[in-house]
């Protein structure tokens, strides 16, 4: 089935994810689309960013060529300092994650299943991968948001009844934000509920791009960004 309307850009996905952040939340952003979320935090919302590199609170990315090797995020990008930062080692950075001190994490995804299983670290075709901190975040953050394109480059659905790629965590995702839809993972493995669609799309057209079955929310709306 051809698309009913254009798909949203990566920055718009990030913008929608950022609406989920509450004032004062401790947030950890994964590599990829999630990193873009920091550009779209709603006015009046103050976040505390946590990074696996051993950092709480940080400023925006440093200007090109002015990086400090001792001030990096989890993706190895150079940051600028702000008042109120804290530094710690890796054992403590992950104690914070496993210990339930992270309110929200946004992670990229290769696949998400109907029960909220997440696969985001291993491409079987490569045969080796980087797990990094993804499994710790999936297991430990209070809320996991998957920020992803709805389909692969070849059109393959990425929201599936069961993940075929190796898992990052079981039943960990609570919200899926894609370039055509926002989908809630219902508690207790009760399936997926479509709550928002991109402009020009509808429930049937989103379902046609989704291998897992979607329950349609009675309050289904168009994605709102403000």
């Amino acid at each position: 089935m051809t698309d009913l309307a254009p798909r949203l850009g990566r920055d718009v996905i990030a913008m929608r994810v950022a609406r989920e952040f509450g004032d004062g939340d401790v947030v950890n952003l994964g590599i990829g689309i999630p990193t873009l979320c920091s550009d779209f935090v709603p006015p009046g919302v103050q976040l505390m960013y946590h990074s696996e590199s051993g950092l709480l609170n940080c400023g925006p990315l440093a200007d090109d060529g002015h990086g400090d090797v001792d001030l990096i995020n989890a993706g190895g990008q150079f940051l600028s300092p702000i008042p109120g930062m804290a530094y710690f080692d890796s054992a403590e950075a992950f104690a914070m994650i496993r210990g339930g001190h992270i309110d929200v994490t946004a992670l990229g995804a290769l696949q998400v299943s109907a029960t909220g299983d997440l696969a985001n670290w291993f491409l079987p075709a490569r045969g080796v991968g980087n797990v990094g901190g993804a499994m710790d975040l999936a297991a430990g953050a209070k809320r996991v948001i998957a920020a992803m394109e709805h389909n692969g480059r070849d059109g393959t659905p990425k929201i599936v009844p069961e993940c075929s790629y190796p898992l990052t965590g079981k039943g960990c995702v609570s919200l899926i934000v894609t370039d055509i839809a926002v989908i809630e993972v219902l508690p207790g493995g009760a399936g997926l509920q479509l709550i928002e669609h991109a402009p020009g799309w509808d429930a049937a057209s989103v379902q046609s791009q989704t291998e897992a079955e979607l329950e349609v929310s009675p309050d289904l709306t168009e994605i709102t960004l403000v």
């Binding site: 001792d70 054992a91 710790d136 430990g140 965590g169």
Partner: protein
């Protein structure tokens, strides 16, 4: 006799690392927090069949961008390229780019290097556990995934946990900003990462620092790694810069 853990050269600091040794090497994924000069000395020393335990297995060049002019990051890749590594225990062993495989990935595909892949937080906690006398611990990380295959698991509070064992090393090569002569270490910024838990987990910890000061030169309130975990300290020459520049 005052305690002084200073070693006069990088060559001397790594001279007794023998073939087959298990090494932890600090850092995260860029040049910060990496013991560059100890790695270069170990490359020149030539010990082989080594196991290295660290976050990455040589990815500083591909991940670092926006580097200050004239700075060339190096990392574990210098030992892998030199054919000294038989096994890697890491969480982020390959390049982020499929089309630009690092030295480790090439060695892994050729069947020359073995890999034990460990989630980043589990890796750090296994080091901390080793240094703290905890033989093993249960963690929710990786439960239900292929990285838990073959491991004992148990349910606590309705959630599955995986049994993970302490991770020990013969040597830890770590990097700090400042050491005092008794081995207390202080770090800068995000350069801590794996250095403190590695210092705890190894029989012999060798710290590469920008500066060695007299006892009292680090405020005891600001010591990050207490000297009990550090056996040798060696200072970078002043010309090597504030943490990054390398030949």
């Amino acid at each position: 006799m005052p305690i002084d853990k200073t070693v006069n050269s990088f060559t001397e600091a790594v001279s007794d690392i023998s073939d087959g040794a298990v090494l932890m090497i600090g850092g995260f994924g860029g040049a910060g927090g990496m013991p560059h000069l100890l790695m270069l000395a170990l490359r020149d020393q030539g010990a082989r069949n080594l196991t290295i335990i660290g976050n990455t297995a040589g990815i500083a060049a591909p991940t670092g961008f926006g580097w200050p002019d004239g700075v060339e990051p190096i990392d574990h890749a210098v030992l892998i390229e030199n054919g000294q590594i038989a096994k890697v225990i890491a969480s982020f062993p390959v390049s982020g780019s499929v089309s630009r495989p690092n030295a480790f990935e090439k060695g892994f595909r050729a069947g020359e290097i073995e890999l034990e892949l460990v989630p980043q937080g589990t890796l750090a906690e296994r080091m901390r556990a080793a240094g703290a006398g905890i033989a093993a611990f249960y963690t929710p990380t990786a439960a239900g995934t292929m990285l838990a295959d073959g491991k004992e698991s148990r349910v606590f509070g309705g959630k599955e946990h995986v049994l993970e064992h302490a991770l020990y090393a013969d040597f830890a090569l770590v990097r700090a900003r400042t050491a005092d002569m008794v081995g207390n270490l202080a770090y800068t910024g995000t350069s801590r990462t794996f250095n403190p838990p590695m210092a705890m987990a190894a029989k012999v910890t060798i710290a590469e620092v920008d500066e060695i000061v007299e006892p009292g030169g680090i405020d005891p309130e600001r010591v990050d790694t207490p000297g009990i975990y550090v056996q040798r300290i060696v200072a970078r020459p002043p010309a090597s810069g504030g943490g990054m520049v390398l030949p």
